[in-house]
Symmetry: D4
Subunit: 243 residues, 8 copies
């Protein structure tokens, strides 16, 4: 900005050109979506694509475009067919089946200063938990997980408590009544990111019960992201681990 | 019934009178409510009055009517003014302030075979918990309580776990995320009656979050009664303790 | 615990080993789920697997693991394909089609002291009712059922009332308006476990109407489990029948 | 209409005047509300005022205006203060306290051909039931009521079944789980108008549970009006009783 | 009942047999459902089967059972496959495709005293409207219909108003905002049965918007049945037309 | 109207015929739907068909009928199969794939006085945005669009702000939190029509979150249409652009 | 902006000062709220204050601050006490009681090109309608109103239809089922702004029923603002009337 | 723990005493609430009391008890009356009126490593924002605030963007549509804690609209706490600022 005015001052740039340049912001038009390459630079994070509902061809096209620039790329909610299309177009991509994620790991640097722990209540919550894990890994974090430690068998969680004690931030995924973040939150003195999952039936209302439970957590160190949003949890935790 | 037919058989009763008697069922008309004296006989339980919204005079009138027969009487959701009116009209009544209940304790017999434990998550849930306590006591049970042992400080619950181990049935009252019944249910092998309370604010939606949480409990020994329904929990627990 | 300290006292165990042993709790790692063999011991109940959404191979693997230990095994919400996979891997399993359950009945002992009655409002509620029946049977109870006695034909229920009179605890499954538990609850003096079912359309909202109706039951001996949760109802009833 | 064209034909009315007259419809302007005197003529019913939220003076002004024409007048949801204002302004008005209604009974004719029965589940539902009663009476019907016959004490309803057998149409008011209309509907072969009431607490959600229950009634002769809408039920029942 | 006592009196029946007979109520057991043949006798209506979700074989079996007794039979929510199965088993059945109904018309008597009008707002509501039509016809009523007269083109309804004027009761089916019953109700002085339909998208929430709209109708002669419940509307209207 | 009376006056028309003619309103009966040809004349707009759920043959039949009269025709929510059927029956129709619309463009006149801008938050909202675009075009408007300018990258919107500055009315489509209309509304001094889309997952509840967000917009120039209702937004915007 | 660069070019402004000035945007700090004086200039509208919940002193302070600049000022949701405080501090303010609005009318210019019509369904909706009226007037529009023309008496609306025919845009306020906008929308070819009101009880759910009804309007020219948001409707209508 | 075993080993402690000591956990009984003094030690945070609904005497008693130990004390949702009671009992307490908080500031140490920024959308959200501010301050953080920068005037936020750039974590409070966290989240690369407020009316549903909006934020660095939970946001932010 300052430089722009300097150039105008020094006569190297006309006022009209300066105004025009201000408008020339760094994104380019793919036709269907304006991809913002500077975003990674701005927030220091890799590019992320939400895969669900995108045709394999469309997803591959976005992947190719993004791959021209550096950094890791992560496509979430992606299935095997989408991966096949991307694999043909981009070298080095991997499919993380449990997390339903396509990754292009190019930047191995550890940006996070500590460990992120990812906890899940039941075995059905693991897909969401793994999405958080892969997100945190793509963002340069060391991750530990602790699965199937729901509150109805509280001794399992307590027996593994020591493995959580070293984490700088903890992600807790739970469906049904969504009680696990409160218990984990009460045990630890670090930020807990709660992820309600759509696991359950009947009055679970596709994650609503868990969401409301987590919003009302009696543990004060809990904040919440959207239902099944493992990515968001991994993203927020990564930012916390960088500060 | 059999007796009725016998009397008809023996000519002591005309068919018409028999039909008429069948219609003459045991309730009498107070004008505003048909009080069913045989109900106590039928289910072996004291009479109960829901006090909320009833004028002191109206409540006292019902109390007087019921007091003519034996057994304990319990008026729930009653305030000091209602108590004053009842006290003038009926000898021996007591006010249990924390439970907001008026009781007329006349039958000291212990009908329950074991102990009923009443657990609450926070100090604000105590009014509901006490309603469960007084209900269970009026129904002839030994009751133990354990208050303020919410899941965010799980060690408090665990430290007092032994006091729950002797109970034949446990009542758990919790507002906010309503997670406590799941944890208690997981620790014990007896039936757990969960009572969501309207404690909380915002997304607690006056007990809805707790209710949904409890309906989706991952502990299989949990069943649920209405929001703030301490009476219902005490009643169900008493029946279980009698079987 | 006491024994542990005794051993330390007697020098048979070093303090470090004692601490280590405290941590060594009884579960083993299957990779995808920590199966807790001591749970049956703890609560005196068989192992239960929630079948829905599990691949036949995955379900069979858990079944095999659990079958190494004694006691009954029950897989709920299981279909014919899952049964085929389990049948190949485990001898003696049976498929209860109406209840959509796979069972491995090995323990014929009657743990329950009385009869559990299972009542359903309509023919469409029978799948849920049967899940309750098979659960109660696997947990060692004598079960009687009474189906298709909805409140719009109240004489059917009344005509069969005697068959309920002997039960120590009653399970009532109903969809649509969910009114049956209130009527049954009013007729009997024992605990009633109400199961809302997702039967109905339009304003039934997949069981929400029945759930709300049951939560607000005017019969005080009613407590409620999740929509379509026949298993939970059978489990709670079994515990009550044991006390 | 035909007459209008005839007059034009016979030259007694100019075309322009005919058009003008067509526009001159029968209502007059009170300033705040266009009162339609012909409505009574059109549907053969008295005038009705919804009292809630109207100032005593405003209510009295409308009452006076309507009283200039014949027929009964009914103000629902009216309190003592509103009645005092109306009483000063209009001769012959009466206050029905339990129904919270002000009436001006001038037309004693019985328009209804049979009896309308009004049933309530609990004593708290009586205010709504009485609104239905007074509405039906003001519309020229013979009315019988049967109160406090909720489904948890089904024998009370059955014992009084004969009193319902003569009714041509039945109104059933119930809060909480709203199950009574289904049971009554199943017992009778006449139309049942169900009125959910806001009686209850917690998961009753101010009548929503009862409303949903009634919408899903398994008795096919049930139709439903708004929560606490005793007036609407009385109105519909009166129309049915006239056909 | 009186006769039973008389027989006991005259010694033709022992008291024990009398008690036994009282229990012997008129239904028989199909194994999966207790069919009540006396219901038709009791309410003077044909037998009705809810077809949705029933296997063709199951539906045919019930149909055969019911066909042994007299009167009309109606199966609602039935598809072509179910019809094929029934047609093989029962002579004289017909399929009403638009109403998705299977009928066995055997009783041509007109029980209804006047005309039932069935009105629909849009062309998509016709399936529900036709279910109401076929129900009313099977119950012995003359039926007139008026379709596609939604409120956004109010002149269409007004232009056909005369065809509604003769009806003794009117059924109005509407989805989306569900406003038509209010307008029709305001035009006529007879009972209006409103049927919300699940037609619409987005904030229509599968009929909830229409249901709420109809519950709050400003026309007092409107009562409401469940979403898409054309059968219930036809049933209630038939009862009204008989009184 | 005046003319009708004149003719009666001059004896050219009998009063009876005049009454009959009044009833003869301009629509004709297709059997399944009353198509109103004068509607276009009345509101000056083309005919529109809601394609979803209509069989290809049915849709083509309506299209043919409407095509006999002049003006543009638009079928929304139409798929390729429906288009194939229409194409065989009507010459000149086109399929706009992204908008899922079939159009018959015959009237090229620009009725709108300015430009309508259509803005979308994400790439997934484009289908809805395109429905708005094609609707506005069929109604004779110049349209500009600006896609993928969601609020999390506010600089993209700001950088393209100038392209919105010329619009007379702006349509904004957004799913998830639905925040874009508030930001756009705050930037501009013209009416903003907000369209919530069903894009999102979890707590988006199929557009409910976006709908509520838009209803509560802190920008006062925002009004809202139904979820995914691109057509309605295009329609309203076209009317505004004509005034 | 261009000017800023020019000044830098001509050396009249240093680059640093230019950057600083860019930051110096036109609002000033009241301590509790940043009032944006240029907003009126930007959108050509008067300043508006939302009065509800503000103390009289606080409201008066904001009023005084805004009054220093030109143009009309409008405070909505204001009561008599707030008006008294403002009246002491600012000369020329008026209180519009029915609209609960305080106005300072200083700019009499007519900015709107046509007439805005404001329609209400019932007398209870008038407060909201009047808020729309006063808003439109303060924004320089000619306004006509038509009150108490709800859909249950459709002839009243039709009889006054001519008064709506001249309007360029119509605002329709309705509570309960919220059906009026659909009927008005169908009669007219101009944009209709629908305002759901919180008028009603029971299943009206404080305006939710009306809101959903309006969102699903079958008239395509309807868009919706928040419940009771007469101000927003007046604002949007004013913008439409200016274009 | 290790020490306990050592003492047993060395014979200084009997096994029984060791077991007893394990049970003697560090909380003491106030009668109505078990206060946990070690909690501060465990999570390194001050004691916090939720003031709402507590009597002044009760609140003061808890305050006194807690004040015996070191560290800051914070009572949220407290009014002037409660403060008066506390002030009499505890020296050095202060009342933060805008935040409705009572504080006893004794520990001035800065535990936070950077700045916490607190942003609010409107002036009505300030009470919640101030609760977050005072919480963060009591927990030893430097706090900056930026109020009244809602999204409808996006330039205000952008103009003050530099003040947010230095923050390590940002709290954003917003009611109505709750869009501000998405915009702030998009501008910054640090964690954003979103607090929905109950500010708004109508379809805001007491914060539900804002809550849903924030849960669906298109900015990935946003996590959410309960409606009006300024305390929770301050607490989570403080933990993040410490890591």
């Amino acid at each position: 900005m300052r430089e722009l005015f300097d150039q105008v001052r020094r006569g190297k740039l006309s006022p009209d050109d300066a105004v025009a340049r201000l408008r020339h912001l760094p994104f380019e038009d793919l036709g269907f979506a304006k991809v913002d390459h500077h975003r990674a630079l701005r927030v220091g994070m890799p590019e992320v694509i939400f895969g669900e509902g995108k045709s394999p061809a469309h997803l591959a096209a976005i992947f190719v475009k993004l791959a021209k620039h550096g950094g890791n790329i992560l496509a979430t909610r992606a299935d095997e067919k989408q991966f096949a299309a991307v694999k043909k177009a981009v070298r080095g991509v991997e499919y993380r089946a449990r997390a339903r994620a396509i990754v292009l790991p190019r930047d191995q640097k550890k940006y996070g200063k500590g460990i992120i722990a990812v906890v899940s209540a039941g075995t059905s919550d693991i897909a969401v938990a793994e999405e958080a894990v892969v997100t945190a890994e793509m963002m340069g974090n060391a991750v530990q997980h602790l699965y199937d430690v729901g509150v109805a068998g509280i001794h399992r969680l307590l027996a593994n408590r020591h493995s959580l004690a070293e984490a700088r931030v903890v992600i807790v995924c739970a469906g049904m009544e969504g009680a696990l973040p409160s218990v984990v939150g009460g045990l630890l003195g670090v930020p807990v990111i709660a992820v309600p999952t759509s696991v359950g039936y009947g009055a679970a209302f596709k994650g609503l019960a868990a969401l409301l439970g987590m919003m009302n957590s009696c543990a004060s160190n809990v904040s919440v992201v959207n239902i099944d949003n493992g990515f968001g949890a991994g993203y927020v935790a990564s930012l916390i681990n960088r500060v």
